[in-house]
């Protein structure tokens, strides 16, 4: 029995203390930046692009049509293929009359233009004029411009990265970003945004919102009561104080 207890205790301790032996495991916040708001309404850096149709600058493309930019790498065994496939399917089913190009850019320095061309062929998009597959020599500048930071995982020989679409309007400004595998409605709102159409939105609490009812802690996923709730109590407190003051005076006729 003691052997069993010793074995169980040792195993549990080892399991729980595994992170202590190596370096501290990074948290989700260290790897990903989940904000869709960062860099929105900022001007895109004018990176050079290598495509099968020749070498351009990004500004040459967005000056003609707004751009939906998708970021992938050709050796990706994870999200890239379903991501592109879903984007293709959504755009086809939306049957949108609005003008835009889809620019698929590799963020892997090892990727060549011919490999990107093969990727296009895999999705039968090599002859689709709306889709442009490209590489760029300024990957780091591109990543900084859109707040996109894939991390190399040497164990899997893969980039750990999120699925990201960046909407760029005809003036070169980032109009909207979509993180993750999103539905058609979200994609349509991105297309509308880069075509300068009005898209309904709801303001998120900002730093100048000092009277929020609740504050949300993304680390714990919990809401905490905040200053705004006190404001909700104010009318009753003021009335009660007024009543107590008025009521403290002696009535005349009793």
């Amino acid at each position: 029995m003691f052997k069993s207890i010793f074995f169980f205790t040792t195993l549990t301790s080892l399991t729980l203390s595994t992170p202590l032996f190596g370096q501290t495991l990074p948290t989700a916040g260290d790897i990903y930046n989940f904000s869709e708001e960062s860099k929105v309404y900022t001007k895109m850096i004018d990176i050079p692009l290598n495509t099968m149709e020749g070498n351009f600058h990004l500004s040459d493309l967005y000056a003609q049509k707004p751009i939906i930019m998708a970021l992938v790498f050709t050796r990706c065994t994870g999200i890239c293929s379903p991501f592109l496939l879903q984007l293709h399917d959504h755009l086809r089913s939306l049957d949108n009359k609005r003008k835009f190009s889809v620019l698929v850019v590799s963020f892997d320095p090892k990727d060549s233009l011919s490999e990107m061309q093969s990727l296009a062929a895999r999705f039968q998009l090599q002859n689709n004029k709306q889709w442009i597959f490209a590489t760029t020599p300024q990957i780091d500048s591109l990543k900084t411009a859109i707040d996109f930071y894939p991390t190399w995982d040497s164990t899997t020989a893969q980039f750990d990265h999120e699925a990201l679409l960046v909407g760029i309007n005809e003036n070169g400004y980032i109009g909207k970003k979509l993180l993750g595998m999103r539905d058609e409605r979200a994609l349509l709102s991105l297309i509308k945004e880069i075509n300068n159409e009005f898209v309904f939105s709801y303001p998120l609490p900002a730093k100048n919102t000092i009277f929020s009812c609740f504050t949300y802690d993304p680390a714990t996923g919990k809401k905490k009561p905040s200053l705004g709730l006190l404001i909700l109590l104010l009318p009753a407190i003021i009335t009660l104080s007024l009543l107590l003051w008025l009521g403290s005076r002696k009535p005349k006729l009793n």
């Binding site: 709801y202 705004g228 009318p235 005076r249």
Partner: protein
């Protein structure tokens, strides 16, 4: 006893309210005919009408209740004519501003003016600021008036007596008896005061953002909570003011002894005062960021706020009427019909305030169905009963048994009123959405129901016009009179 000048100002209230009521009904009928595709107005005109209609209706029936209880308060405490005149002047100024904002400025954010709609300027630039100014003028007038009335009551009764706390015991020999009218008036005016202070805070936050040039932003959830804390509370307390007049006048005009404050009357109305202040959370069921506990508070407070007052009032009225010979006049029939309308609308409200039902009914015509029922066929009839009674007082005429002509008018009123709200209920049960200027074709019955509702409302309007002539002509007599009428108390 009310002075001649107090009668005159009450008379001015009655005439003004009735004129505004007729105009606001016609705005409502126009909207329903448009939804029924019988007429064609632009969406901007529709929503401007909706905004002005809602604001006017909520405003006039709140002040109708306040004017009525202020008049009847003179039986128990010393009342102030100048305070009443002050409130009247500010009300007229406020209404004029809001109508100009709505019809000339084309402001159309709805009477609830939910944040951030007033700042999404789809109207004249100046309209948003003047809308806020209009509300401020009304708020100041009514706030001062409410505080004044509370002060008048507390000059005679202690705080505990004004809430009838001495009646909580089953003993009958209390030193000072609090009349039910004083208890209900106090409870309702306190609620109105709280709602008006909420409105002041709400307006301050609106002004702060308006003048901050983007350095200050409001929290939409806080603004929505404040809006409905104010809106829900004032709409409900206005109804309770109508009930206060019922408690005071129904036995009197029915030739029965006055109602007494018993322990259950005292407990019931004190419960109502507390619970009505938290029932507004039921307006935020769809706001998923609001914790679920708040939603539960909204549901149960809705039950606890309405059931005690309704149960106590129904029992009291049944005891008054059942097995007794009642002199039925226009006044007490209006009170009785108002009670029926209040109960039906209240049941509709409780169905909607239940979370599991609200998921289906939230943005459907069920919502205007229930609030129109307890206003059009509840609160309005309570106030009309007071208007008829007061007009008789002013003209020195006694309230007679109901005539055949009056019965016909009442029949048109009942058919028109209940027919009008029934069309809302049926549409709500079919999930027809509210606040649509025109319905999509998928809602096959929506236009037909809207059109039918408009015709029923037209019948209701005709009945009101027929009743109005007599009331207004009697009220006008008080302006030419220099002597108190022999029938006044």
């Amino acid at each position: 006893m009310p002075t001649l000048s107090f009668k005159r100002i009450t008379s001015a209230w009655i005439i003004t309210i009735l004129v505004l009521f007729v105009l606001a009904i016609s705005f409502g009928i126009t909207m329903r005919f448009n939804q029924g595709r019988d007429i064609d107005i632009s969406p901007v005109t529709f929503y401007s009408l909706m905004t002005v209609h809602g604001l006017t209706m909520i405003g006039i029936w709140a002040v109708a209740g306040m004017a009525a209880v202020n008049y009847l308060l003179a039986r128990y405490v010393k009342v102030s004519t100048s305070l009443n005149v002050f409130a009247f002047v500010l009300t007229v100024v406020g209404v004029v501003i809001l109508w100009v904002v709505g019809f000339i400025g084309k402001f159309h954010a709805g009477w609830t003016f939910l944040y951030p709609l007033p700042f999404r300027v789809a109207w004249e630039e100046w309209a948003t600021l003047w809308f806020l100014i209009g509300l401020t003028v009304l708020g100041v007038g009514w706030l001062v008036w409410s505080v004044g009335m509370i002060m008048q009551i507390l000059k005679k009764y202690t705080l505990g007596q004004s809430f009838a706390w001495q009646h909580f015991t089953k003993k009958h020999d209390v030193a000072v008896e609090t009349p039910p009218f004083i208890l209900i008036t106090m409870v309702s005016i306190i609620g109105i005061l709280i709602s008006l202070i909420t409105a002041v805070i709400l307006l301050v936050l609106f002004y702060a953002e308006y003048f901050s040039n983007g350095t200050f932003t409001n929290d939409p959830l806080l603004m929505k909570n404040l809006t409905y804390f104010f809106g829900h509370t004032i709409a409900n307390e206005a109804l309770y003011l109508g009930l206060a007049t019922l408690y005071e006048l129904l036995p009197e005009v029915s030739g029965r002894p006055k109602f007494k404050t018993t322990w259950y009357v005292a407990v019931g109305w004190n419960c109502t005062m507390v619970f009505v202040l938290t029932a507004f959370f039921h307006h935020l069921y769809m706001d998923f960021v609001q914790p679920y506990g708040f939603q539960l508070v909204g549901q149960f407070a809705s039950y606890f706020a309405s059931i005690p007052s309704a149960a106590v009032t129904i029992v009291s009225v049944i005891v008054l009427i059942y097995g007794n010979k009642i002199k039925w006049s226009l006044t007490n029939i209006l009170f009785f019909l108002g009670l029926v309308g209040w109960i039906i609308g209240g049941v509709g409200a409780l169905i909607d305030a239940t979370i599991s039902n609200n998921i289906i009914l939230h943005n459907t015509l069920w919502v205007p169905a229930h609030f129109h029922t307890y206003n059009v066929m509840g609160n309005v009839l309570f106030s009309l009963a007071f208007f008829v009674w007061a007009a008789n007082q002013f003209a020195g005429t006694d309230s007679k048994n109901i005539s055949k002509a009056q019965l016909v008018k009442l029949s048109i009123l009942v058919i028109g009123g209940f027919g009008f709200v029934l069309m809302f209920y049926i549409a709500g049960a079919y999930s027809v959405p509210r606040r649509y200027a025109l319905y999509p074709e998928e809602f096959t019955s929506a236009a037909i129901l809207a059109s039918a509702g408009a015709w029923f409302a037209l019948a209701y309007l005709i009945a009101i016009l027929l009743l109005l002539g007599n009331i207004v002509s009697k009220c006008l007599k008080v302006f030419s009179s220099s002597q108190p009428s022999p029938l006044s108390h």
